[in-house]
Symmetry: C2
């Protein structure tokens, strides 16, 4: 599969994910829901639809495909991860958190609506992720559904993504009198990033393995792959923040260095960061070698993550 | 069982729930969690421990007991509902939402810590609820665990509690130019309350039935009971808001009428509201008649909800 085919596959999955997200965010209440307030569902659609590379859902879909699973259930699992990702963006953008006005080239949810609505959008997307996973339409087997819930919850909460955002705010010196960024060690930065970004990327790959009924070794390989990909993703992101401009990224850039924030690129320098990135891509590719030719797309995804321009 | 025995039972369950909540909010990370940031877990404990009647967990525990289930798994299910309840209090208290400084007689979480931490506390408690439910320690059977997740998610999200908070903010006239409370109809108020408060109380009773392996009729009875109890709860709450003072309630009172907010008590008057409350209690008691003497505590819980003074 060449680069063009990969891009086509990424785009096609993105479209399929967009469709299922739109269906799950329909105005009509589900069975057992009392209603779906118009303003809230509209704002949830605003925060979720029409943007993003859908990298996490792509990982779910492609990981599942390695083990022979595809179909609407896999897309629902993929959508649930995207709901978590989108909720985190909405809450992280809030004035009390990162205070961002721009996201994917559009006003952030609290700028387009208001802070209260944005808070409820995040809460509702987060909850919807687990609603979707627990529904029999995602997988006929309860043991698979509950394992998906467990994977996603553990990766998203205090021990993963939300905890990582807490560490990030602390690293900015938010809760000390001087309010100056803290000088984190390499180990502390790695831990922060493993929680804030890595955990959800790892869960995406692992959830694909779970719904694909991977054996223990297959699941462990996908976990390892997701973990390495997550590290690569973060270094690429830091490099983009230094090298790119706001027009390409659709959000504020140069923000990390302007704030004096501790990043691996800042610690290592650009060249060493690029070398480490290349090594991580090679490691990711190796981690799925055991799965044979079916893992080719996952390898390309690792290269894509490292080379992306936005 | 007399009133004193009931109070003792409520207190004993409250203590058992406090213990399990404390255990689930330990500083040490769970397996698969990368870490538990100290500030975040401390704030989650602040928001969760040491207060509240623990009514929702009590309903889970007592509903389960009707069907012969008790033990640590039931308490975990009960704790998960309390996590959802506590997260909703923390987010609802935020300045952009209800802007409350006082909760259970103590500063609200964002006043004791800060807004960013409070936002993450809510997100993390919400996520932890599903983490706890999906863990095999809650129930050995995946089908039961995933049904608990489904119940709780459907009741808490856009179609339930979070959607109800959205309607409540809209009812306050928050998103219209005049910012004056809207004149809701009786039907609209009932719908708002069924979502904001009723859904989670109903889910509590239903989850007890689920973990107790109730048959279809038993589960339907508990749903109906929870629904009626929820309505009674809300009317009692509105009456307390009119009649009580801040010292007894540990939070601001008289707020609804001061804001000109539409409530059923405002619509019907105090006497008619008291009559409706008594009728709802009688209906709740009748709804669990089919379960025999084992449902005696649930009947007393309905009376307790109606007669509570704080």
């Amino acid at each position: 599969m060449d680069e063009g085919d990969f891009q086509g596959r990424l785009a096609a999955t993105g479209e399929a994910v967009e469709t299922i997200l739109g269906e799950l965010l329909a105005a009509r209440p589900l069975a057992g829901e009392i209603g779906r307030p118009e303003r809230l569902i509209e704002a949830m659609r605003y925060a979720t639809l029409g943007g993003g590379k859908r990298l996490r859902p792509f990982l779910v879909v492609e990981a599942a495909r390695v083990f022979g699973a595809n179909g609407p259930g896999v897309l629902r699992a993929a959508a649930s991860v995207e709901f978590i990702h989108c909720y985190s963006l909405v809450h992280d953008d809030l004035p009390a958190m990162d205070n961002d006005d721009l996201r994917r080239g559009r006003p952030t949810t609290h700028r387009e609506y208001d802070e209260a609505t944005a808070t409820l959008v995040g809460d509702s997307l987060l909850t919807l992720a687990f609603d979707v996973l627990s529904d029999a339409a995602t997988d006929p087997e309860p043991a698979i559904r509950v394992e998906l819930v467990a994977c996603l919850a553990r990766a998203s909460g205090i021990g993963g993504m939300a905890g990582g955002q807490m560490l990030d705010l602390e690293a900015e010196g938010r809760f000390v009198a001087e309010r100056a960024p803290l000088a984190l060690t390499e180990e502390e930065i790695l831990r922060l990033q493993a929680m804030k970004t890595g955990a959800l990327l790892t869960a995406s790959a692992e959830m694909g393995a779970v719904i694909g009924r991977a054996d223990k070794d297959g699941r462990a390989a996908l976990r390892r792959y997701g973990n390495l990909l997550g590290q690569a993703f973060q270094i690429a992101d830091d490099l983009l923040d230094v090298e790119s401009d706001a027009a390409t990224m659709g959000k504020a850039t140069g923000k990390d260095s302007a704030m004096g924030k501790a990043t691996l690129v800042g610690l290592w320098g650009i060249e060493a960061a690029r070398e480490r990135l290349a090594a991580l891509v090679a490691e990711s590719e190796k981690s799925v070698e055991c799965l044979g030719g079916k893992a080719e797309v996952l390898k390309q995804a690792a290269r894509f993550v490292a080379e992306r321009k936005s």
